[in-house]
Symmetry: C2
Subunit: 362 residues, 2 copies
């Protein structure tokens, strides 16, 4: 492991326990959270920061918020976004006010997506997709980064509070564009507290921890304890279907995007790395290795909601009863159901977009 | 000379010719500009960049702009601001559209002046003072940086176009706050060209050349020649009254601020470094040295408009006819007239602020 986690890198951490230790994270204790969601129950959520602050809010019914951002750069999202949405939904159900910001300013700066195009994409695809994935449409506050002067003003203020060396220590490197993007994200993360100082939780992949650390460092040096340092919760990556890296659009053959044509998705699943043995006979005798199987990982993280059903697949694989072909067919069937549900959900949510709660800025 | 000019330093360049050479500036040729102002005629304006582009606009009556910013950090300005305003006025009279931005975002970030306070100060003092110093109230377009989303969006975009090493090469150092401030200034400098691509001239002290260079570098790598690289014009510093550094509020005894109580200003002028000799007798015999005299510098740069009147003071000093006491009395008298005029002008302009041409942002 390098000393810094690169938010822009593609590698999978070999050992999440080591990540927890190296970066001073807390282990996620599922028993501290009521009615844990699938990702929590199955250890996909593996760590966080300041989690007690949030479990206390849930227990004591005190106000807190959950926040995430959408980068409207293209017309697909990925399973990492799905994990984030499921966690947002979880905290919404536990009483959090949810904020979703559209990072159109960053998309414009870093990816050349004009603000108009970014706004259009977010309204036509990303926001409907998030709702289709479970985001509560009425209980969520949305805003466009480019319209939110408060966030920009905070970004300018926060930039004054860090040195280049601190930035490099957190991010491993520093360039002007990255610096501006990072301090803007700090502004986003703290924005809900401008109105009311309160705890907040940011559900992210571990690659986003630098932003959390930067935010917490900056909060700790602002005067008069204006902000509560944000808490965070980290999910493991969905690995690429060949098991080599985290799933990423840069390796399209090993990546299923959302939504994806089911034929294409099926083809990819059929080629995925499994925990199967050299031959059918050996597998029938020794059983498969679901721990090493990318199809089982998909089932576990995304496709099979029911714990018993998942356990059954695991047990039958271990016993050598369920072979890879049949198991892949099950996964493909589940994937088809999921994609159909997602596409219908997007279609439906698209019609409700004008009823959503967007922050109005003067 | 260091390889970079520090926009935040206090030292006077020993040799402006060397500055021109070291930084690849053009010498300012007064004959290229019609009806040159006092600063131009007297060599206080000593250099620039891409000056022909501007003298051509004047000659051919083509559109161009002149732009400067106000940092609303306190309730005083200095003689450097006066030089800038006089140059803006000059180019306004030669056909330029003038833009004055209020750098409230930077003032908030770097100096902790809230946006409300910055706005109030600019409206109650800085803008009226600029008008009192000669800015044409009806021919000037004003905007507040914090309200100008276009400038902020450009800043984000431009940050992507430079590396940390380029920034360091231009500024000598780099920290996150300075980087954000610099790319925002680039946005300000180019903002008038969003509507119409045209040449622009930025009148500044030589310490601000890094911003000009950064802007020109960024323009040269934007696609499709979207912007004309800005021209610039540099004035020599008003030296501190003890002749040691550039005049600065950090050395209050050697600095006259605008406006300043005339008694205080008089006291400071009386103590200024002059070109006087060891004794009155020697001075009567050898004459004084106006080239080394801070009072003469004040006369030349700021207090005496009429060239013949200034020449007369110079000649009488050189001949030993005009001694330092009398000469200081003349300067104090001029300073009193100037301050009275300035204060009355501010008072008058303050009442017209609501009639000015502020850019409205949606």
């Amino acid at each position: 492991m390098p000393k810094t986690i690169d938010p822009y890198g593609a590698e999978l951490p070999e050992d999440y326990t080591k990540v927890i230790k190296d970066f001073g994270l807390e282990e996620f204790k599922v028993e501290a959270f009521p009615s844990p969601n699938r990702l929590m129950r199955r250890g996909v959520i593996f760590s966080g920061r300041d989690l007690k602050r949030i479990s206390d809010c849930i227990k004591d019914k005190k106000p807190f918020y959950v926040l995430s951002g959408i980068m409207p750069t293209n017309d697909k999202i990925h399973f990492g976004n799905k994990q984030v949405v499921e966690n947002i939904r979880y905290f919404q159900e536990q009483g959090a006010t949810a904020y979703i910001l559209i990072a159109d300013l960053e998309a414009a700066a870093a990816r050349g997506v004009t603000l108009e195009e970014g706004k259009k994409r977010a309204l036509e695809f990303h926001i409907p997709a998030y709702i289709a994935l479970g985001l509560h449409p009425e209980k969520t506050i949305f805003y466009f980064q480019s319209e939110n002067k408060d966030v920009v003003h905070m970004a300018y203020e926060f930039a004054q509070k860090i040195t280049l060396n601190e930035f490099k220590a957190i991010y491993g490197s520093a360039d002007p564009g990255r610096i501006m993007s990072a301090v803007t994200q700090v502004g986003d993360i703290l924005y809900p507290q401008l109105a009311t100082r309160m705890p907040g939780i940011i559900p992210v992949g571990i690659d986003q921890d630098p932003h959390i650390r930067l935010t917490r460092d900056i909060v700790n040096r602002t005067k008069a304890k204006k902000f509560v340092p944000p808490s965070s919760i980290y999910h493991k990556y969905t690995p690429s279907l060949n098991g080599e890296l985290k799933m990423s659009k840069s390796m399209p053959e090993s990546c299923i995007v959302l939504p994806e044509d089911i034929k294409t998705a099926t083809k990819k699943i059929k080629r995925a790395l499994t925990g199967g043995r050299e031959t059918v006979d050996i597998q029938k005798e020794k059983g498969g290795e679901p721990e090493k199987c990318m199809v089982f990982e998909l089932d576990k993280q995304h496709l099979i909601e029911d714990d018993k059903e998942l356990q059954d697949i695991y047990d039958r694989c271990k016993k050598g009863d369920l072979l890879c072909g049949e198991c892949k067919d099950i996964a493909c069937q589940k994937m088809e159901e999921f994609m159909t549900h997602l596409e219908k959900g997007i279609e439906k949510a698209r019609k409700q977009v004008d009823k959503l709660n967007f922050v109005k800025f003067s």
